[in-house]
């Protein structure tokens, strides 16, 4: 196929070298690029020789494919974790060498299942981490639970994680090996009601929930909560992902005079919808535009267009203004966000914190186990683990509000919005937190501005 080369290769070479170089630099040099920052720890040169065993950690995330935006911070996060593990992990008086094996799930369930199998039976990992979207995480935890490998996962709403893995709310089956931390539908409710009272509206909500796992979970769980709280829900019904024309929905929303808009779409659908809504005069009626599942990263908001993207509101599961930081690396959240921006030249990405937290939990669980190569010791350590992470303190097995099921810790999702930056700023938009109902330690930066 050498014939095709001229165009794709020719157009890409400059960019390819630039990006490839950055990625390789990230993986190899890690913290070395930012020596001024406090996360550059001294490395004990004798540590490697003293290691008595090896711990293998498998890490599955979407590095390519539709959800690759989530995997984008991974090279940076893994380089930080590798740096923290560089002098080994001391557990019960012994020092273990730690090896992180990162695999790309290609945003595809079948690939996720396949790489999980490779990690379990081929690499024989001691601990399996996975993150971002049900498509990636559910096959991994399925394989881990079946094979008896301890597993930690995040960035899948916990209801989707629990129901999607074949469990039920009414007759729950206990899991032995898989553990999860993430926000859930109730967090959306807290965040939305707290945000929406900051701007006066007629409390009529235009709801766009697609016919997929997340859309159906939202329709079943969030809509009734909002109706109970006094909001009128205008739901035109579930649409299919990939719909190209939204005229009927826009017409209905205009007829019902919806001043709040809320949606859970895949990112391309939102851009299509929002442009058509602008063309048909709906966006100028909307006082609050609350989006989820898209608008997570600045690049997604920029794709909508800076003008249409300004003042979109969303909930965020990690930010550099959050208190604390990573217990494994000793890096504060502020340093993590700044380090990522410096390293990649991009605006901070909320998945950076969530991915980092996976390694915080992993290190704490391995330490608490006493014997990291004993899988049941690691799993039983996870059952009551208490650990400080980038996304706050996580504590399994308390049975409280933050543990709806023993294997799950609920994390917060404070709300805010994308606002225009001053002229001459590096990025056209920035995210500011406007509420902190479920994590009061996150500082509020501004009051919610009306969308239009």
């Amino acid at each position: 196929m050498s014939e095709e080369k001229p165009v794709p290769d020719g157009l890409s070479r400059g960019q390819f070298i630039k990006r490839g170089g950055a990625a390789v630099g990230g993986a190899l040099l890690g913290g070395g690029l930012g020596t001024g920052v406090s996360w550059a720890r001294p490395i004990d040169p004798t540590a490697r020789d003293a290691a008595v065993g090896t711990i293998k950690i498998g890490y599955v995330s979407p590095l390519t494919g539709a959800d690759a935006g989530f995997g984008e911070p991974d090279p940076y996060v893994i380089s930080l974790a590798n740096k923290a593990f560089a002098h080994g992990l001391k557990i019960a008086g012994k020092t273990y060498k730690v090896q992180i094996i990162s695999k790309d799930a290609q945003s595809t369930p079948s690939v996720a299942a396949q790489v999980a199998q490779t990690l379990i039976s081929g690499d024989q990992v001691d601990l399996l981490l996975s993150t971002s979207t049900p498509e990636v995480v559910l096959p991994v935890i399925g394989a881990a639970e079946a094979a008896g490998v301890p597993s930690i996962s995040t960035t899948v709403p916990w209801e989707s994680w629990w129901l999607g893995s074949g469990n039920s709310f009414t007759s729950p089956k206990p899991y032995q090996w898989v553990f999860h931390f993430c926000f859930g539908v109730a967090n959306f409710f807290d965040t939305y009601t707290d945000l929406w009272k900051q701007v006066p509206t007629n409390k009529t909500v235009a709801m766009m929930a697609p016919n997929d796992a997340d859309g159906n979970a939202i329709r079943a769980n969030l809509f009734p909560l909002l109706e109970k709280a006094g909001y009128t829900i205008v739901d035109p019904g579930a649409y299919e992902d990939g719909t190209t024309d939204f005229t009927s929905q826009i017409t209905l929303f205009k007829q019902k005079n919806c001043q709040i808009f809320n949606t859970f779409p895949i990112p391309p659908d939102f851009t299509t919808f929002w442009r058509q809504a602008a063309q048909q005069g709906f966006t100028s009626m909307v006082k609050i535009a609350q989006i989820a599942k898209t608008g997570l990263f600045l690049s997604q908001v920029e794709a909508v267009g800076v003008k249409l993207g300004t003042n979109l509101a969303t909930g965020v599961y990690w930010g550099p203004t959050w208190p604390g930081g990573s217990s494994l690396t000793g890096i504060s959240n502020k340093e993590l966000g700044a380090g990522y921006e410096k390293h990649t030249g991009r605006y901070w990405n909320q998945q950076t914190g969530a991915s980092m937290a996976l390694f915080d939990v992993a290190a704490a669980a391995l330490k608490a186990s006493g014997n990291p190569n004993d899988k049941s010791a690691v799993a039983s350590a996870l059952k009551s683990l208490k650990v400080r992470t980038t996304v706050g303190e996580l504590h399994w097995g308390t049975g409280g509000k933050s543990n709806p099921f023993p294997n799950i810790v609920v994390t917060p999702i404070p709300g805010g919005q994308w606002v225009a930056t001053k002229k001459g700023s590096k990025f056209p938009l920035e995210f500011v937190f406007c509420e902190h109902e479920d994590y009061p330690q996150v500082p509020i930066q501004a009051k919610l501005k009306p969308y239009s």
Binding site: M1, S12, Q15, T64, A278, E302
Partner: protein, 303 residues
Amino acid sequence: MNWVNDVIQGILLGGYYGIIACGLALMFGVMRIINLAHGDIAVLGAFLMYLLLQHWSVSPFIALLPVLPTMILFGYVLQRLVLQRSLRAGILTPLLATFGLSIVIQNALEQSFGPDVQSLGGQAGSLVTAAWRINSQISISALGGLTFGAAVAVYAALQLYLSRTPSGRQMRASAEDPDTAELVGINSRAVYARATAIAIGIATLGGLALALRSTFSSYSGPDQLIFAFEAVVIGGLGSSLWGALLGGIVLGVAQTIGSQINPEWSVLSGHIVFLLVLISPRGGLLTLRSGRRAPASLPQAGT
């Protein structure tokens, strides 16, 4: 009144489908190649415009000016070096070749531009949000109107080319019967390369329309291919030029009306119309009227 608006929006949407379907129909009509990389080629065009706009802050329409000839050249070279060779090996090999090309383009784009979704709508200024409001229910978006107008212009230009120019006549002759065309001195390889060049040029316009109305990423090609393919099939499998545009309009109207009945039926009703046409004995809206033979009976090209 909602129904009137749905039909209008559906027709405008059909203009978009018509543009992305046009090149697919042309390649199928002339060479019997189903170009599975058609959507990815449209996305490639969009990425080239995006690349230019990273360096110059101009309108996406200006960025089209250098990208369009580049893509046309790419189409010409692609046909000469890849597809022509695969045509020799029978009807399945070009299908596999374009399937491979689709994967190559997707991954090359992912390597070069990363996983982010992109859009050129931001650089097009108020065009993407402007609309003529006819009354409170009906509005015609500037972008939709422009896309539809461009689709009609593309089809009319292609019609003129095929019916009025010697080169166009050669193309029709090769499409009807490549062996006889060769006998009377037509170089079918050159004709095929021209057809692919034109098809990929039009796909680039489709890529621009996609980039303006929505977002694109390295993996958004296949989604575009499905709608383009359905439009081609509904319109009669490349046996009539205007069929693909009509097929696009039928698909667009089916989707907007389906969505009015129930939002879940938007994409589904398009698929249902597609399946109905596929199982109907006529096998396409314009097959009978065009007076040409059904595709299955056409001789294999490239031998």
